[in-house]
């Protein structure tokens, strides 16, 4: 009887360990494979955002429908389009977006399976700062009986402090982890970190 319990416990802990290391492995592999595209998405998004603040979401599994949030000073507009319909480009034109750059950004997001991109504001010493926040949905993170998971990336403008376990720290209090969307983020490089979360935005 005791032996059965022992084997069951061993099997469960082995599965748990395997799934954790799988997630970590996925994060590293995905970033290495897509680093160039992701950095390019970040750079182009920042340029476009500076002119017209917006967030972009690929809604469906086939990444063929997008939702766009366009921010003005007083109001936020939320639009939903299929990427092949003309209303998308009519709307982008109306808000004076660079059509070519937006088209390329959407294509790259589809290619890298990015679900969501936005500029998140955060505060340091009462000063407002931004980081680019990208969520990725990948079939390797989701499966039968598994809850939905996203690979989320935070791109800071300058190097960030991390602890010995490579967890992002609060610049104002180096004993505390700095949370983003209530999640603990881990180091990819000095200014890029990631988390596997259930929320994509």
């Amino acid at each position: 009887m005791n032996r059965h319990i022992y084997y069951t416990a061993f099997f469960i802990s082995w599965i748990l360990m395997a799934s954790c290391s799988h997630s970590k492995k996925f994060a590293k592999n995905y970033y290495n494979e897509n680093e160039k595209t992701l950095l390019s998405i970040r750079d182009r998004f920042k340029i476009l955002f500076d002119k017209n603040p917006f967030s972009l979401e690929l809604i469906d599994k086939e990444v063929s429908r997008i939702s766009m949030e366009i921010h003005t000073d007083s109001i936020k507009y939320i639009y939903t389009f299929r990427t092949d319909e003309p209303f998308l480009y009519d709307t982008l034109q109306k808000y004076q977006f660079n059509l070519k750059a937006m088209g390329e950004l959407i294509k790259d997001m589809q290619k890298a399976r990015c679900t969501w991109i936005t500029n998140l504001d955060y505060y340091e010493k009462l000063e407002k700062k931004y980081l680019v926040f990208i969520s990725v949905r990948d079939k390797n993170l989701n499966g039968f009986l598994r809850s939905e998971k996203y690979f989320t990336l935070a791109f800071f403008d300058r190097p960030q402090p991390f602890d010995e376990k490579e967890r992002l720290l609060d610049r104002e209090d180096l004993k505390k982890n700095r949370l983003i969307n209530d999640g603990i983020f881990r180091r990819i490089s000095d200014s890029v970190c990631y988390a596997l979360t259930s929320k994509y935005r």
Binding site: E57, I59, D60, S67, I75, D121, Y122, N181
Partner: protein, 306 residues
């Protein structure tokens, strides 16, 4: 004679009370007077007259200068009032529209009193927040603009500390991080109770936490009541921000309160809604079906005659 009149009088009183009871229970609304009690300028003049605040022993982590600056921003830009990223403060934020728009001076006075004395009265409610809440105000972090709004933190934490609904049953005492948990959450009945107790409003609520309101055509109903003043909506936020990554649909329950500011139909039979949450107005087009599906509670209000 006197006894005879007394008997008639008592019958009359019973009749009047009975009629009033029936009238109050019927959907006929009380006449409304939505003229603001005070103006934003009066609130600013009052805050300027204070010049400087001393630190409060009741709120050890709240910077008085920043607190006063927050109150000025509330008075001048009420629609920028922000509940914070990922918190469960949306209900408290939505109802703050009422004092910030109809009585900004009264709200400023209340907040100053709460800051200086650690307790204050608003409507029928005397707020006396507990020590854990008072210690937490001013140091809630990673919530966007709420990080630099200790006044907002004081207000939200005081409301969540005072008002309790069934969702708060298993988490009644504040612990660090509870701004994201059931401690701060609000069910529909609690929301309506807060409106009644805080602002002397006559509240007309339709819907519940699980069953959608029976109002016939949702658009027509909203269009009728949202004409005069904004209406509070209790929504399923997951459906509003539609995402179709997984085939499995989640159990649809409402989790978010917004203030509906306008609703109208476009030529292609889509419905445009303009609502206020997260410190901004949002314009979004939805189908009539989605509108019906996302709304679980509708709260309209009118002002009681004094």
């Amino acid at each position: 004679m006197i006894i005879c009149e007394f008997k008639k009088l008592s019958t009359l009183i019973i009749l009047v009370i009975g009629t009033l009871h029936i009238l109050l229970a019927s959907p006929i609304r009380m006449p409304a007077d939505s003229t603001p009690v005070s103006t934003h300028q009066q609130a600013i003049a009052y805050l300027d007259s204070l010049q400087k605040l001393d630190s409060s022993m009741h709120w050890p982590n709240v910077d008085p200068d920043l607190f006063l600056q927050n109150l000025r921003t509330f008075a001048t830009e009420p629609l920028k009032f922000y509940e914070g990223k990922g918190t469960n403060f949306c209900a408290y934020s939505a109802l703050t529209y009422i004092p910030l728009n109809y009585d900004p001076l009264g709200f400023s006075r209340f907040m100053i009193s709460l800051y200086q004395n650690g307790k204050a009265r608003l409507g029928k409610v005397v707020f006396k927040p507990g020590l854990p809440v008072r210690k937490a105000a001013g140091i809630i972090k990673y919530k966007g603009a709420l990080d630099i709004s200790p006044a907002g933190q004081i207000w939200f934490l005081s409301l969540a500390d005072h008002f309790k609904g069934y969702l708060n049953f298993f988490n009644r005492g504040f612990d660090k991080g509870d701004e994201n948990t059931l401690w701060a959450s609000t069910n529909f009945a609690k929301f309506n109770r807060m409106l009644r107790k805080l602002f002397n409003l006559k509240v007309h609520a339709r819907g519940s936490d699980i069953v959608r309101p029976w109002v016939g055509d949702t658009y027509n109903y909203l269009n009728d009541i949202a004409g005069e003043r904004p209406v509070f909506l209790f929504l399923n936020n997951r459906l509003l921000y539609k995402k179709k990554h997984k085939v499995v649909t989640r159990f649809g329950i409402p989790t978010h309160f917004v203030l509906l500011m306008n609703v109208f139909k476009t030529e292609d039979d889509k419905i445009t809604i303009i609502y206020w949450d997260y410190g901004k107005k949002t314009l979004q087009q939805v189908s009539p079906r989605l509108l019906r599906k996302i709304i679980f509670g509708i709260t309209d209000y009118s002002f009681k005659k004094k």
